[in-house]
């Protein structure tokens, strides 16, 4: 894994290697310049001691200012290079990640929940960015400053260097230890905040119970206790944070103290010059922040490594069904419409991938669906209806030869071409946060206005448009206008109609519609479906009576098959289901 991850880092960093190299060179230059300034200060003080003319001092001051300007320019450029790279790399990683997500198929998403994928796409990419940017920058910068400053200190006075640097390690260790423990305690604080927030959520979601049982005071008292614990943990963290910040605050001063006492003696005894003394203090000061930052750098590298490992897990996942989509590749050709082609299912047994021990969802299924016909699939929850629909759309793969379209094995058809001839309306209507128009034309962004209007009308969405603030241009979805369940179902139906599918699949997609609207929808579809095949998963009596053929699934098997009348006459499962649904509908209609 480690080797794979490091090659992943290299893969993303490679295009920016020259820029990193340039950044490193500029860092060397800018730090060289900034280390020169205290040296000039030393020169200036020595000149002053000698009583050189003011012009000499002014020249040195001017040189300092000039170097400072040059230094600032190069510093800016170096940061632009290195930090800029990290942003560009984050962009590349995100692009790769997303493109790969688009290729991954249902088995991947069954196992990896949205929250998990999101956490990788959001947090882990951020950590990787910190790795490539601030962490690299600070590592290079710190190393350069360290080596150069220590060398300069040694050149001024080795003994003084040793004495003043021995003070630093224990201080730094203390700071690092404190900051590690601050981190641990801040986790404890976060944990308690999560507890508080869970408790509040529990309370708010159960507010009716709380009120009915008159538990307000007890809830308030319990909440108060959690808050008190939160305050206690915060204070315990504040104590440590206080120690750490106070320590950092006096680190520079401690160095100065040593220079004052020991260095002062050296100056008086003539071992070093006064200019050396001032410059020494300045160089020592330059070491403070890099040392404190060191713990942070290591930490950021470690977290970046872990993050890349988690991203790599997604990037190496291989879809079982190659949809043929390739973000960088060529556009595929759209296959000819498959209208009129018969679908044949032969001895289909299907088990969901993943859990090996699980029972098949479909068992020995045999079914012929003539081109242009209308089929209803009926059966209790878990009987395999939705599975059948998703297999026809090739969401999961089936054994070769078990599904053929117009005589061709479904597995041999180009996946995306086949899907483009489908109109699929899922059980859970999913809308994107964009305008209703763009949701409806999702499958065919180039659809003509007339086609859109027709689809909206057929889906019985037309009269609803007036209720939306901007009509069909209203932005809907998570961050937009909230549609009712029925409106969402009709919008997803319109989306499926717009693509003029040769096979329309409705997976219990009209359940939130009232009976009248549903009848109108069916009438609207009537004309459209004249030359197309349609599969309805439904229990609606008004829909069922319109079907040419009905299959009843139970426990993954077809238990009854025939026309509505035949099945009613049979008096079996279908008849029972139909009677119940009829009663239900009558009750609702009353």
């Amino acid at each position: 894994m480690r080797a794979a991850v490091s090659s992943r880092f290299w893969e993303f960093a490679r295009p920016y290697a020259p820029s990193y190299a340039l950044g490193l060179l500029m860092l060397l230059a800018t730090n060289g310049l900034s280390l020169w300034i205290p040296w000039l200060l030393r020169d200036a003080i020595e000149r002053l001691e000698e009583g050189s003319p003011l012009a000499e001092i002014a020249r040195l001051a001017l040189a300092m200012a000039g170097i400072a300007i040059l230094q600032a320019l190069i510093r800016t450029a170096s940061r632009l290079q290195i930090l800029g790279n990290s942003r560009k790399i984050a962009h590349d990683v995100r692009r790769r990640f997303f493109a790969h997500l688009l290729r991954l198929d249902a088995p991947f998403y069954d196992v990896n929940r949205t929250g998990d994928v999101m956490s990788r796409g959001v947090n882990d990419i951020r950590l990787v960015q910190a790795f490539f940017g601030p962490a690299v920058l600070n590592l290079l910068n710190t190393s350069i400053v360290y080596v150069a400053a220590v060398a300069l200190l040694l050149s001024i006075d080795p003994l003084l260097t040793v004495v003043s640097l021995t003070i630093y390690p224990p201080l730094m260790l203390a700071v690092n230890r404190a900051s590690r423990r601050v981190y641990a305690r801040s986790l404890a604080v976060q944990e308690q905040l999560a507890t508080i927030s869970n408790r509040a959520q529990e309370n708010i979601s159960g507010i009716q119970q709380v009120k009915t049982y008159v538990q307000e005071e007890r809830e308030i008292a319990a909440f108060r206790e959690l808050c008190a614990e939160f305050r206690r943990r915060n204070m315990s963290m504040a104590a440590l944070r206080g120690v750490m910040l106070s320590l950092i605050g006096i680190v520079t001063g401690v160095g100065t103290l040593v220079v004052l006492y020991v260095g002062g003696r050296f100056v008086i005894s003539g071992r070093i010059g006064f200019g050396d003394f001032v410059a020494f203090n300045a160089y020592l000061g330059l070491l403070v922040w890099p040392t404190i930052a060191f713990g942070w750098i290591i930490n950021t590298f470690q977290r970046g490594l872990g993050a890349m490992e988690r991203l790599d897990e997604v990037l190496v996942a291989v879809p079982r069904i190659d949809s043929g989509f390739d973000a960088d590749g060529k556009q595929e050709t759209v296959a000819e419409p498959l209208a009129g082609h018969a679908i044949e299912i032969r001895d289909l047994t299907f088990t969901y991938p993943g859990a090996a021990a699980r029972e098949p969802a479909l068992k020995n299924l045999n079914l012929k669906i003539p081109g242009g016909s209308r089929l209803a699939v009926v059966g209790p929850v878990g009987s395999g209806k939705s599975t059948l629909a998703s297999l026809l759309a090739r969401v999961y793969d089936v054994p070769s030869g078990s599904i053929t379209i117009g005589g061709k094995d479904l597995r041999d058809l180009p996946v995306r071409a086949w899907r483009r001839s489908l109109g699929y309306v899922p059980q859970e209507p999913f809308m994107f946060s964009r305008s209703l128009r763009r949701n409806v034309t999702f499958g065919d962004p180039d659809a003509e206005a007339a086609a859109i209007d027709r689809a909206v009308e057929r889906a019985q969405l037309l009269k609803d448009l007036d209720q939306f603030p901007d009509g069909i241009e209203t932005v809907v979805g998570e961050r937009g206008f909230t549609l009712s369940g029925g409106q969402r179902q009709r919008a997803t139906l319109a989306r499926a109609i717009v693509v003029q599918p040769s096979l329309l699949i409705l997976d219990d997609a009209l359940s939130s519609l009232d009976a009248d609207t549903e009848r109108s929808v069916m009438r609207g579809l009537d004309e459209l479906m004249r030359k197309r095949t349609a599969i309805f998963i439904t229990h609606r009596p008004s829909t069922l009576t319109e079907m040419e053929r009905i299959v009843v699934l139970d426990d993954g098997r077809i238990v009854e098959e025939g026309s509505h009348e035949e099945l009613l006459a049979l008096g079996g499962t279908y008849a029972r289901i139909f009677e119940r649904q009829k009663l239900r509908q009558d009750l609702e209609d009353r």
Binding site: L62, R79, L104, V254
Partner: protein, 586 residues
């Protein structure tokens, strides 16, 4: 943009006065923190002066006699700075924590009093934000807001005063860098703020797009729209990258500029100080001390504008919290409530009750009925007929829009709210367990319910042995949302809770969740015990539960359309009840 990104006014007098109300109780801590703040600045600012003394009195004079003493003083200043800064951070945090503690508790307590309709309008997530992130943002006001601004100002004024006192000419030269520093800082910070806001907005957009694609991936793939999604995401990704790069640009320039200003100041001090030394009005010690002070000078100047952002966010959060606290409590007890003496008789009257969660869309239309004391009544109806709403109205979770509800002949609005709710035993549909022990969940922490009564209630509903078998018995802790108990167990606990109080009226909203046959049998058994000897209302989803009721009320589309005993209702073949019955027995 998220809530926390909204900009608040940096200073709002009304809000400040209100906040002061919360700070006042802790004003001793605030004062202590301020005193400590001055002390920290003092300990810090004396250090460069001591350096000056070492250089001028010792090094320049070539003596060593006072060096140890001055070094000791320097050490003392360092230690003082260490201790005082620690104390200051700690005391300030304590103040902030106390204020936030009070605010959070008050907000929570206020939430408990708000009517149910408020919770229908406000999603849980939003209310959670008030109690967590908003309160936390307000906390920042203390740790890095007002007080720290004061700290920065104190330090700046201190440095200015010392520099002027040491040498006013050199001080004036040093001060010339202040205006450009201020201007540059302000210029860049304002732009950086904007840029980062933009970066955050773009990131939010990017993440929403990612989230949407991940959760709608099947649709994307079934409609073969991968390319369009990749392009759209790519566009946002690119925009985000550009915003990020702009941020990097400002950030790089600004941090280099901060260093540049420091170095230029150094050059200016060297030049002017050198001049002074050559002319004799400046000592080496003063020169070095100036360099030291100047280094301490720029941090507070730069940080001042950063604090501005924190203040903005805190003010916006404060406004949202106060909005919550200002939401009126609309359902409350009568000013002079009718007391309930002992047990109610248990007569319930609904008289022309009309109610809608949205007043324009009533879910109950002119519903009237009377339930006699001791009567057992079942209420049935199709989903959405308004059955459960009846209960919510009876215990005043909502107030009705027309008509009256009487209990023992008195309008329920005349009673004290808590007393009314306590007098009516209710078992709600979703069995909610409160945090605490099992015993607590039955006694509801009411001291009037003895341990014996709790056990008796548990035995009556046949759940006593089950509880005894738990590792902690009656003291077993209930985990979050009662996740360590099954639905059936929770229902039995709710029964025990209802009868532990021996209410004159018992209302039961039957759960729809399916339980195993064994539990089902127990529940039915328990039910018989629970219902005897009191007025009872049973909202039934399974008709079997109400067959034995004295009377069954049938609701349809919010109207009471049939009533009578089971057999009588079944005799009407076209009736709603008969239809429901056929549906359920099919």
């Amino acid at each position: 943009m998220s809530d926390s990104d909204a900009r608040g006014k940096i200073y709002d007098a009304r809000m400040m006065r209100r906040l002061w109300g919360y700070i006042r109780p802790h004003r001793m801590l605030v004062s202590a923190s301020l005193v400590l703040l001055f002390a920290v600045s003092g300990a810090q600012l004396v250090q460069p002066y001591l350096i000056k003394r070492v250089i001028d009195d010792q090094i320049a004079a070539g003596r060593m006699d006072g060096l140890g003493y001055l070094a000791l003083l320097f050490l003392a200043a360092l230690l003082a700075e260490f201790v005082l800064r620690f104390a200051q951070i700690y005391v300030l945090e304590q103040t902030g924590q106390n204020v936030v503690f009070d605010l959070r508790n008050e907000s929570f307590a206020h939430l408990q009093r708000l009517p149910s309709s408020f919770f229908d309008r406000n999603p849980v997530g939003r209310l959670m934000t008030r109690l967590t992130s908003d309160v936390e943002a307000l906390h920042e006001l203390f740790t890095s807001g007002v007080v720290m601004i004061l700290a920065d100002l104190v330090k700046l004024v201190g440095i200015v005063a010392i520099l002027l006192w040491m040498d006013w000419r050199l001080a004036l030269v040093t001060f010339t860098v202040i205006p450009p520093t201020l201007i540059l800082t302000w210029f860049f910070r304002a732009r950086m703020r904007e840029t980062y806001r933009h970066v955050r907005a773009m990131l939010t957009k990017l993440n929403i797009e990612l989230q949407e694609n991940v959760s709608g991936m099947r649709i994307v793939q079934l409609f073969a729209r991968e390319r369009e999604m990749a392009e759209s995401f790519g566009e946002t990704n690119r925009e985000h990258e550009q915003a990020q790069l702009r941020g990097v640009r400002y950030d790089s320039i600004f941090s280099a500029l901060a260093e540049l200003i420091g170095s230029v100041t150094l050059a200016a001090i060297v030049w002017a100080g050198g001049w002074g030394i050559l002319e004799g009005w400046v000592t080496f010690g003063t020169l070095v001390a100036f360099i030291e002070y100047a280094a301490k000078f720029f941090r507070p100047v730069q940080e001042l504008s950063q604090r501005y952002t924190v203040m903005q966010a805190a003010m916006a959060a404060g406004e949202r919290i106060f909005d919550l606290l200002d939401t009126p409590v609309t359902i409350r007890s009568a000013a002079a409530p009718t007391p309930i003496h002992g047990r109610l008789k248990g007569e319930i009257v609904f008289d022309g009750v009309t109610f809608g969660y949205d007043p324009d869309q009533p879910v109950l239309h002119d519903v009237s009925f009377r339930i006699a004391p001791g009567e057992r009544v079942g209420i049935v109806g199709w989903t959405g007929s308004g059955k459960s709403t009846l209960i919510r109205l009876l215990v005043r979770l909502y107030d009705i829009q027309a008509g009256r509800i009487l209990v023992d002949g008195v309008d329920i609005r005349e009673y004290e709210l808590a007393e009314l709710r306590r007098s009516i035993g209710v078992v709600l549909q979703d069995h909610f367990l409160f945090a605490g022990t099992v015993e607590n969940n039955i006694s509801l922490g009411d001291s009037r319910v003895t341990r014996e009564q709790v056990r008796a209630a548990a035995e009556a509903v046949h759940v006593h042995r089950l509880i005894e078998r738990l590792p902690g018995g009656y003291d077993e802790n209930v985990r979050e949302r009662g996740s360590n108990f099954s639905t059936g167990e929770k229902q039995l606990f709710a029964f025990a809770r209802a009868i532990a109080f021996d209410p004159a009226v018992l209302v039961l909203d039957e759960a729809t969740a399916s339980v195993d046959p064994e539990t089902e049998r127990r529940i039915q058994q328990a039910l018989t015990t629970v219902l005897s000897g009191r007025t009872s209302i049973l909202i039934a989803h399974r008709l079997a539960t109400v067959r034995d009721a004295d009377r069954i009320l049938v609701l349809h589309h919010g109207r009471l359309i049939e009533q009578g005993p089971h057999e009588a209702l079944l005799d009407r073949p076209d009736g709603i009840y008969a239809t429901l019955y056929t549906l359920q027995s099919a």
